[in-house]
């Protein structure tokens, strides 16, 4: 049953990340990330309760509090002060091509598993790999700082799925990862408030 639920969770995580690719409204992407994190948090909570792991329950609660609630709220508040960034009119890669590449990345994720990791007995590992690639693609396909940050957070969500699939990392490490990601989001939020992303060629950054 655990595997089926994991597959279902992974499936929705991937669908939601593909949905992010064609979104022009940054605020929608923030909400989608929140939904993704809620799914992840509830899944971890279920696994913790089902297996009776207190550490997993605490991690699930930390995930929900930081990723599903605090980070989207913080980013939402930041973007409301910069309403001109709420919509990204021009993607680096067209929407149609983005979706196509996203689907190809899903196939590539499976190939990576099949060619490299199949011998290690975790058939579901292609799901977090695909999700990680989707996050990375969101970063490179967008110039909007919020979308790039969400891409990074999607990658971090995939890490939690991967960690769950292999063997649970020690609690102190998992908790450290959550706090690190929170730190990155807070600092990135501060930078985004003042950063102008329309610069093309800054002499001091050339070469």
């Amino acid at each position: 049953m655990g595997k089926e639920i994991f597959a279902l969770v992974g499936f929705w995580e991937i669908i939601l990340s593909i949905f992010m690719q064609w979104q022009a409204y940054t605020i929608s992407n923030i909400k989608t990330f929140s939904v993704q994190s809620w799914i992840l948090g509830i899944f971890l909570l279920w696994a913790g309760v089902f297996h009776g792991f207190i550490a997993l329950i605490i991690l699930a609660l930390l995930t929900i509090i930081t990723r599903a609630i605090a980070m989207p709220l913080y980013l939402g508040n930041t973007i409301r002060k910069q309403i001109y960034r709420a919509r990204e009119n021009k993607h680096r890669i067209s929407t149609g091509l983005s979706i196509l590449i996203s689907l190809l990345l899903a196939v590539f994720g499976y190939l990576v598993y099949y060619l490299i990791l199949a011998g290690h007995g975790q058939s579901l590992v292609s799901i977090p790999i695909t999700l990680m690639l989707q996050g990375a693609f969101l970063i490179v396909s967008r110039s909007n700082a919020y979308s790039q940050l969400i891409g990074y957070l999607v990658m971090e969500n995939s890490m939690f799925l991967l960690s769950f699939l292999f063997s649970e990392l020690p609690f102190i490490v998992e908790a450290g990862i959550i706090l690190d990601v929170l730190g990155v989001v807070v600092v990135a939020g501060l930078l985004m408030r003042v950063r102008d992303e329309d610069i093309e060629k800054e002499e001091e950054l050339l070469g």
Binding site: G119, M159, V173, G176, E204, G207
Partner: protein, 455 residues
């Protein structure tokens, strides 16, 4: 617990300079850095310690000393530097507080016995320092800080996958446990590759080095100094430990190739640099690439790496601090606008020249000795052609950097000479660059001290 004293000093400095002693934040930071330095010297004479949480051997102690020395110098130099700069993204107390916490994390990370916590602490240094990179608060500085936080965080995510694979393969992340286990499968090897790529991003290894020239170029001079001298070697530290645990010829080749490409890129890129801070940033790419080569080869090449990063820490931090003097007085970042530095700012000019010689591995600086060990081991392991190619790129880096520096320091043909006031804090880089010249004298002591780590 005693090994945490330097880290606790820095962390307390961060807390106090941001809260209770905001008005005295500079004094608090100087005191914290001085205490961290004293504790690090004291710890040199303490026995090694291996517990479930700590892994402190002579290598950790050398890192502690290196970090705390540069920390002390950078804090003192920052006092003078900040007085001359305005419009900062962070206030003075925030600057010192972030600097303290950043160093506190680094001092903590080199005492750990856990690859997971290595990752957590290295990632923590990213967000602790991103605001410092943006400190100058102009478009380029903010962009550099953004690139830094995004590229490094994404790169380190790959390192996290490596850590997960490591745990999945060995069921432990502790160095002591990993050293005692022999059964290592292909997943272990894969984790090694991902760790090299992941931490390599933060070290500034090809092809993930792109954040480094931007961040080093736009950060305030003392921050560039501490980045190049300390942050990059501390990010290399987990890889030194990993190669201590796992010697695999294929993984060694993989790290060697990345290191070689970094040396090549770093040295070639110095040819077309127009800004002096970016010139020295690419020199860091070159030096870190060479250090990774030394780590991958092990044995006396690893000793070469340790000598190289130790000497480089003093010389490069000194050089970056001197670039801060130049920027304040000459108001330009361009190499072509700086002429006759030796007449305008004699101390800055002279020690920039010596510093450039030190970072490019000129004898009698110990960087030369470190590079010699690494190149000779390369010849030993991969043959003359590869060894000569490596040597060739090192010579290119040496020529390109020193040609530019000599032009800046001694050539005064095109611009009229007018003397400028040198910061009274110039004594810090002067001491650092002088110290880098004396490291060669302690190399035998260094070797005896670290003999247990070199296999």
């Amino acid at each position: 617990m005693i090994y945490l004293l330097p880290s606790i000093s820095a962390t307390l400095g961060a807390i106090l300079s941001f809260s209770l002693f905001r008005n005295k934040h500079k004094e608090v930071s100087v005191l914290a850095s001085f205490l961290a330095f004293v504790f690090s010297i004291f710890l040199l004479f303490e026995p090694d310690r291996f517990t479930a949480f700590f892994y402190v051997d002579s290598l950790s102690k050398i890192f502690l000393l290196m970090i705390s020395s540069v920390y002390l110098g950078v804090v003192i130099f920052s006092i003078g530097y900040l007085e001359h700069s305005h419009g900062h993204f962070v206030k003075s107390c925030q600057y010192f507080s972030l600097l303290d916490i950043f160093v506190g994390i680094m001092l903590f990370s080199v005492t750990l016995n856990n690859f997971g916590l290595f990752w957590v602490s290295i990632e923590a240094t990213t967000f602790a320092t991103a605001l410092l990179v943006a400190s100058e608060n102009d478009i380029a500085a903010l962009e550099a800080a953004w690139r830094y936080i995004m590229i490094v965080s994404v790169g380190l995510t790959i390192g996290l996958v490596g850590t997960l694979f490591l745990y999945s393969s060995a069921h432990t992340l502790s160095i002591t446990d990993l050293l005692s286990r022999q059964n290592r499968g292909s997943l272990f090897f894969l984790s090694g590759m991902l760790l090299v790529i992941g931490y390599g991003t933060k070290i500034g290894i090809f092809p993930m080095y792109t954040w480094l020239p931007d961040a080093h170029g736009k950060a305030p001079a003392p921050i560039s100094a501490i980045f190049s001298a300390i942050l990059l070697p501390v990010s290399l530290y987990p890889l030194i430990r990993f190669f201590e645990v796992y010697q695999n010829p294929s993984l060694s080749k993989f790290a060697f190739v990345l290191g070689f490409l970094s040396v090549m890129t770093g040295s070639i890129m110095t040819l077309n640099q127009r800004l002096y801070k970016r010139l020295f940033a690419y020199s860091s790419v070159e030096n870190m690439g060479l250090s990774l080569i030394g780590v991958s080869l092990g044995s006396y090449a690893l000793f070469g790496t340790i000598v190289l990063i130790f000497t480089h820490a003093f010389a490069k931090s000194g050089v970056f601090m001197l670039t801060g003097n130049m920027l304040h007085e000459l108001k330009t970042r361009k190499i072509e606008d700086v002429k006759g530095l030796i007449k305008i700012m004699p101390k800055t000019g002279l020690f920039l020249f010596f510093g450039a010689l030190a970072v490019t591995g000129t004898p009698p600086f110990a960087t030369f000795f470190g590079e010699l060990l690494i190149v000779s081991k390369t010849i030993n392991y991969y043959g003359w052609i590869v060894g000569f190619a490596l040597f060739f790129f090192l010579v290119c880096g040496f020529l390109f950097i020193n040609y530019r520096v000599i032009n800046m320091v001694f050539n005064d043909e095109t611009k009229p000479v007018s003397s400028a006031k040198e910061s009274p804090f110039t004594f810090v880089p002067v001491i650092f660059i002088t110290l880098s010249a004396f490291v060669i004298l302690i190399v035998p002591i260094f070797y005896r001290f670290i003999e247990g780590v070199i296999k």
